[in-house]
């Protein structure tokens, strides 16, 4: 065996989960290498530059924010496990966010990092539901959401035992689904619990410089711990013999051996590397994909009257329909993010205004388009997305917004596949999660989106948990 290229652990993908797994393993003396096909780290949560301007992909806000001193939550566990001082992330809290429903934005529920604000909104606007809501919150708080072996139950069914009003039910599901559900219409209750806590019971924050601050911290920890990293170096195939992986074949044809393999690229994507037995049904890939429009403004959003909201989840229809659209785009619902509206302190603000809007989109209506039609569809959809979202914000005339806009960009399902490698632009991966991270091969484990801990903090905890469970606890 060529010992030069043998690793204790090979990790596929340098996203949040792969990096977190790598830090743990390298810290405890494992010889680890992360293989990343892209030239950037971060996977789904990354950033790119166009003419000197940095655009974040993925991250609107870091969820799971708790203030110093609050213990036992995912953020605290993550910081401890990766030996990160919370000051390194330099998180700034959101101002406020809203869930706004109705064709004329009739019903609005405000929430902040103080849960009492949200509870009060329910008291005021859904007085008949407050007891049920409180009972639901108790059920959520007492649910063991990090257990690695529980039977899946329908979140819609559980929520309906407490909440009778369909509007409120949908208003609770909208943010939770948009920020992490890989399943259409419903969610597994454990996943709902993770996201409800992450969004409402904990909260939103962001480093001043966005996602790259978090990536920089992770990369530095990984490097200090002695981890290796190979960029622009995808894995083409996992070779196996008698139920065990024997080698990784890289895109270059180079062969790497490793005792353990952790794959963060998704369950169906990993299955493709392994190859499916002829008698087996391939794993189902996810269908939920997004577009996101990004407008760079020459002023702070506050100058347009958009200074209060950090994130706005909206829906104009009688029911909230979280599903793969029949057309290229569904603008009935979506998410607005104004990264300027985090509390960065009195003495600093982002140098430019940023207005981002996310809506559901359908991968196969984007993927096969020739370049010219693709660009034309982007322009058409950009206008539709913005028109829809602005109904839920204080009115700003077309002329004023156009005058304030310096430049725009947009990502589509095609971009998601390019950055994350997910089949079908499935932003949150496959609908069925694999809590134990098991694959058909005994020394290949999943981490990340398809393991099932959601959000950016969840992704990192997933990498940590799988490294602990399958490798560090074993010897």
């Amino acid at each position: 065996m060529n010992t030069r290229s043998h690793y204790d652990v090979a990790i596929i993908g340098a996203g949040m989960s792969g990096l977190a797994a790598g830090i743990r393993l390298a810290h405890f003396g494992k010889k680890v290498c992360i293989f990343e096909r892209h030239n950037a780290t971060g996977g789904l949560n990354s950033f790119y530059s166009i003419s000197g301007r940095k655009f974040d992909v993925g991250l609107h806000a870091l969820t799971n924010f708790v203030r110093p001193g609050v213990k036992g939550t995912p953020l605290t566990k993550l910081l401890r496990q990766l030996r990160i001082d919370r000051a390194e992330f330099a998180l700034c809290e959101q101002k406020q966010s809203r869930v706004v429903f109705g064709p004329n934005a009739e019903t609005s529920l405000r929430f902040t990092n103080d849960f009492a604000v949200f509870e009060n909104e329910i008291v005021t606007q859904f007085p008949k539901e407050i007891d049920g809501f409180r009972a639901l919150v108790v059920a959520i708080k007492t649910y063991d959401d990090v257990s690695l072996d529980v039977a899946p139950i329908s979140a819609r069914a559980v929520v309906r035992t407490h909440i009778r009003n369909a509007l409120l039910e949908d208003m609770l599901f909208c943010p939770v689904m948009y920020y992490g559900s890989a399943q259409e219409h419903d969610m597994e209750f454990g996943q709902f619990v993770i996201m409800f806590k992450a969004l409402f019971l904990e909260g939103f924050a962001r480093p001043f410089d966005g996602v790259r601050v978090i990536l920089r911290v992770l990369l530095e920890k990984y490097r200090q711990a002695g981890g290796e990293r190979r960029m622009k170096c995808g894995v083409r195939k996992i070779s196996a013999h008698e139920g065990r992986a024997t080698a990784l074949i890289l895109d270059t044809g180079e062969e790497i051996t490793a005792t353990h393999i952790i794959s963060s690229i998704g369950a169906p994507e990993t299955e493709r590397l392994i190859g499916v037995a002829t008698d087996a049904t391939p794993l189902e890939a996810g269908r939920l994909s997004f577009v996101e429009t990004i407008s760079i403004l020459n002023c702070q959003p506050a100058a347009l009257g958009w200074g209060s909201d950090t994130i706005v989840f909206f829906n104009d229809s009688s029911r909230f329909d979280y599903a793969c659209p029949t057309n290229a785009l569904d603008t009935r619902s979506g998410v607005i993010c104004l990264p300027n509206n985090f509390d960065y302190g009195d003495d600093r603000e982002l140098s430019e205004g940023i207005f981002r809007v996310t809506c559901l989109a359908r991968y196969d209506q984007w993927a096969p388009l020739a370049e010219e039609s693709y660009q034309a569809q982007k322009i058409r959809c950009f206008a539709e997305v913005q028109r829809s979202a602005r109904r839920f914000m204080p009115a700003v005339s077309d002329a004023v917004l156009a005058g304030a806009t310096i430049t725009t960009d947009m990502f589509t399902p095609r971009t998601i596949t390019k950055f994350s490698g997910h089949i079908g632009g499935a932003i949150y991966g496959a609908p069925v999660k694999h809590r134990q991270g098991r694959t058909p091969l005994e020394n290949v484990y999943l981490c990340g989106t398809d393991q099932g801990f959601l959000g950016i903090i969840g992704a990192m905890l997933s990498g940590i948990s799988m490294a602990n469970l399958h490798i560090l606890q074993k010897n």
Partner: protein, 87 residues
């Protein structure tokens, strides 16, 4: 290695893995879990840091001996002494 030194080794590890805990008043006879917010992930890290820093092995069946500082000292001090004698 005395038992007090052994307790300090464990406290030093806890200080690094849980810097947000106040360790100034840890009572040696009381279970660590009952006075500090430590979960199973943190205990795994105590075990692994013992191995990494001091080459001390704690098999899973013996994790119970790490419950309090006193029990840590009872269990780990002989291991440190044995290791020193070998080295």
């Amino acid at each position: 290695m005395t038992k007090d030194e052994c307790k300090q080794v464990v406290l030093d590890i806890i200080a690094d893995i849980a810097p947000d805990e106040d360790l100034s008043n840890v009572k040696p006879e009381v279970r660590l879990r009952d006075q500090l917010q430590l979960d199973s992930m943190d205990f795994l890290d105590i075990v692994m840091e013992l191995r990494k820093r001091h080459s001390i092995e704690v098999p899973e069946a013996d994790y119970q001996h790490l419950a309090s500082l006193d029990s840590c000292a009872e269990y780990l001090t002989p291991k440190f002494i044995a290791l020193a004698a070998k080295g």
